[in-house]
């Protein structure tokens, strides 16, 4: 039972078992292999779950049923789609730059995989507890734009190029306000390590503890995060009705599936960060002195809390997507540079003030 509440028992057990059987160098190697396999499995499972979830959420918002033929309630639809994509021909256009065209999906995919590293999934379950976790994630996640730019350029297609350029402008802009809103929480918690930030929310989540500035930062983070994910209403890079498919117009089969998967895993990463920073990560919902309530909440395992919060944020982002029309590219940049950016700067100053005056809980 204790394994569910604290994974450090399990991880230390595995670690000790390896140490007992082989040298420390081999131990690290084997652990890396196990972690890698776990990450890839998580990746694929998340991709399948999110595709199914997106289709179901969209369907219910549009008074439809969504997939309901393959498997019970259509749960195997995503698997069937994956098999279909695997069997499809991986087509490379003749005029495309072969090497870069094939490289781009791998860059995008591996970048979103890298961002999984510092995420605390549950108590004691973290791949790499780096002390600059927040900084690492914002650094790594901006590499994915390079993959998209390469994809757009190497396709040798005008739609792809336009989509890639839009994506470049968009991600570079929205990195700013996303970073600034993250800094607000870093200032509150006084640490860049994600595990420390989670630990600092033992008494309450930052969105409750941090007064209005934290709420503003949260809203900005969600908006900027949606924009960084290239999802509607900010899906300028794909913009189906304008650019047919944007940067992945020319991609088929599994290479298209990689972009697709990367999009969903990116969504998971962004929402996981949002949940970790603002909603307490794997910390249960605690209210100040209500010890009875807090005690009941403690019975829910931490990883359930983490995934629950993440999936809630994912659902919110899906809710956006299936409600709003798309912005125009100049309005998109106007929104960032004239609204989100100044607000988050002002917000950051307020946060600094609050932290110095110790007004937060």
């Amino acid at each position: 039972m204790k394994y569910i509440y604290d994974f450090s028992f399990l991880t230390s057990k595995i670690h000790n078992w390896f140490l007992a059987h082989c040298s420390s160098g081999w131990t690290i190697l084997w652990e890396m292999v196990i972690v890698g396999l776990c990450a890839i499995t998580l990746f694929v499972v998340l991709g399948l779950i999110f595709v199914y979830m997106e289709r179901k959420v969209a369907a219910f918002m549009q008074f439809r049923l969504g997939p309901n033929r393959v498997g019970p309630k259509g749960t195997l639809q995503a698997v069937a789609d994956t098999v279909k994509l695997l069997m499809k021909e991986g087509f490379t256009p003749q005029a495309a730059d072969m090497f870069l065209f094939n490289l781009a999906p791998f860059i995008v995919l591996s970048v979103s995989m890298l961002a999984l590293a510092p995420l605390p999934f549950a108590k004691g379950l973290q791949i790499y507890d780096i002390n600059i976790g927040v900084f690492y994630i914002s650094a790594v996640s901006s590499i994915s734009v390079i993959g998209i730019l390469i994809a757009g350029w190497a396709s040798n297609n005008k739609y792809s190029l336009l989509g890639a350029m839009r994506s470049g402008a968009q991600i570079v802009s929205y990195e700013l306000s996303a970073g600034l809103s993250v800094i607000a929480i870093v200032a509150f918690a006084g640490s860049m390590s994600l595990s420390d930030i989670v630990e600092s929310q033992r008494t309450g989540w930052w969105i409750f503890k941090g007064h209005i500035p934290a709420v503003i930062a949260f809203v900005i983070f969600i908006i900027a995060g949606t924009a960084e994910l290239n999802r509607a209403p900010f899906d300028m890079a794909e913009a189906e009705s304008e650019l047919t498919g944007g940067f992945h117009t020319e991609y088929t089969g599994m290479r298209f599936a990689m972009f697709f998967l990367a999009e969903y895993v990116n969504m998971f990463v962004v929402c996981a960060i949002g949940a970790t920073l603002f909603l307490g990560g794997w910390m249960p919902l605690h209210f100040g002195n209500l010890s009875g309530f807090n005690h009941i909440m403690d019975y829910v395992p931490p990883f359930v809390w983490f995934f629950g919060k993440t999936f809630f944020l994912v659902w919110v982002i899906m809710w956006f997507r299936w409600t709003f029309p798309r912005l125009r590219i100049d309005q998109l940049l106007t929104l960032e540079w004239k609204y989100l950016m100044p607000i988050s700067l002002v917000n950051m100053i307020i946060v600094a003030f609050v932290v110095i005056m110790k007004w937060h809980f």
Partner: protein, 376 residues
């Protein structure tokens, strides 16, 4: 096949010109319209429509078929206003025969026209949402349209190309359930219409996308021959139902919807309010369908006297004119369809040049182009 001029055109293009083919297969051209656009970054600097991908030469086909038959070819022009197209053709034949159709047929024709208009505008609204990137409006629009199509299915026998008009009236009498179903539809639609506004009209993103985009001045509107909601959005009164009332529209109380802003948002509002007007018209008539024949007596083989006949109707997209030249035989000598989309398309260059690609898509959505109507 690339024609000669196009090659010249492309070779004359500057090195830095970015020429993009929008269509013929493109999600927002609603069919097979091909636009060759020149881009400066994201800004559209030149638009050239290339037509003919779905040209079936309906005018030539009409010359080979009898006066009873050619009506049904025209359902395939503007398939969203199929009833009005058929009506225009039936009217031009009736004009030639100097046939007065029974009152009941007229009222049913109006009812069907207005239901078609509603269905068409609902589909337009649905697709507008889709063009601007919102997917849910598509299903909201189709939900209500489905009810109308079921009504058509019951009374006319088919859903989209209803083929309900014949020279001299309508093909058969309305279904006994017709009035009941229309009442049920009106009740549901009136309840649902605020949802349309809730989802799209008030949305700040939508307003930013459409307000001030694609301005068309009233002078240009007239000069380009625009009609329908496109022209009425610029404040140009051009409703044929008011100008030259046909088939009993003169007895119906309704307002011609006019907006003066001339941008995409104005065209949007015109169509939204037109839906309300159509509901009003249907409400006036649905309980007052006069008794009597639904079809005037006609000969088996129709022969029109020598001469020229012209009939105009207001379809969901604007003025449809049917110009018939008869040489006295049982087949038309020359048919010409003045289709609303063809003229509206010529205004596209005026309104979309200088905007972004996103504006081009919004403009095309608000012109509500149906490509088979342009190509015929």
């Amino acid at each position: 096949m690339i024609d000669k001029e196009e090659i010249e055109d492309l070779t004359q293009a500057h090195e830095e010109d970015f020429i993009l083919n929008v269509g013929p297969q493109h999600p927002s051209t609603h069919g097979v319209l091909r636009l060759k656009i020149k881009l400066q970054g994201e800004t559209v600097t030149h638009i050239e429509p290339h037509l003919g991908y779905i040209h079936r030469s309906i005018e030539k086909m009409c010359e080979a078929s009898s006066y009873r038959n050619f009506i049904y070819l025209t359902s395939r022009m503007d398939y969203l206003s199929a009833h009005m197209n058929n009506q225009a053709c039936a009217m031009v034949v009736e004009k030639g025969l100097q046939l007065e159709i029974p009152k009941r047929a007229k009222v049913i024709r109006i009812l069907m026209s207005e239901l078609t208009r509603l269905a068409s505008h609902q589909l337009w609204w649905a697709c507008t949402g889709l063009d601007l990137g919102a997917t849910t409006p598509f299903f909201v629009g189709f939900r209500d349209r489905e009810v109308i199509l079921d009504i058509f299915d019951e009374t006319c026998g088919s859903r989209l190309t209803m083929d309900y008009n014949v020279p001299g009236g309508i093909m058969f009498d309305i279904h006994p359930n017709f009035q009941k179903n229309v009442h049920a539809f009106l009740k549901g639609f009136k309840k649902n219409l605020p949802e349309y506004h809730q989802l799209l009209t008030g949305n700040v993103i939508f307003q930013n996308r459409t307000k001030g985009v694609g301005y068309l001045s009233p002078e240009d509107t007239i000069s380009f021959g625009c009609s329908g909601p496109t022209a009425r959005g610029s404040g140009v009164s051009c409703d044929i139902r008011k100008w030259q009332p046909y088939d009993g529209y003169e007895d119906v109380q309704f307002n011609e919807v006019l907006e003066t802003a001339g941008d995409c948002y104005a065209r949007y509002l015109v169509r939204m309010r037109e839906m309300e007007e159509s509901v009003k018209i249907i409400e006036q008539l649905i309980d007052n369908i006069p008794e009597g024949d639904f079809q005037a007596k006609t000969k088996a083989v129709l022969k029109l006297p020598k001469g020229e006949f012209y009939s105009r109707v207001e379809t969901a997209r604007g003025e449809l004119g049917v110009y018939l030249v008869s040489d006295g035989t049982s087949k038309p000598y020359r048919m010409k369809f003045r289709s609303p989309n063809f003229s509206n398309l010529s205004a596209l260059r005026e309104i979309a040049v200088g905007g972004k690609i996103g504006d081009l898509v919004a403009n095309m959505a608000m012109l509500d182009l149906v490509i088979p109507d342009i190509d015929r």
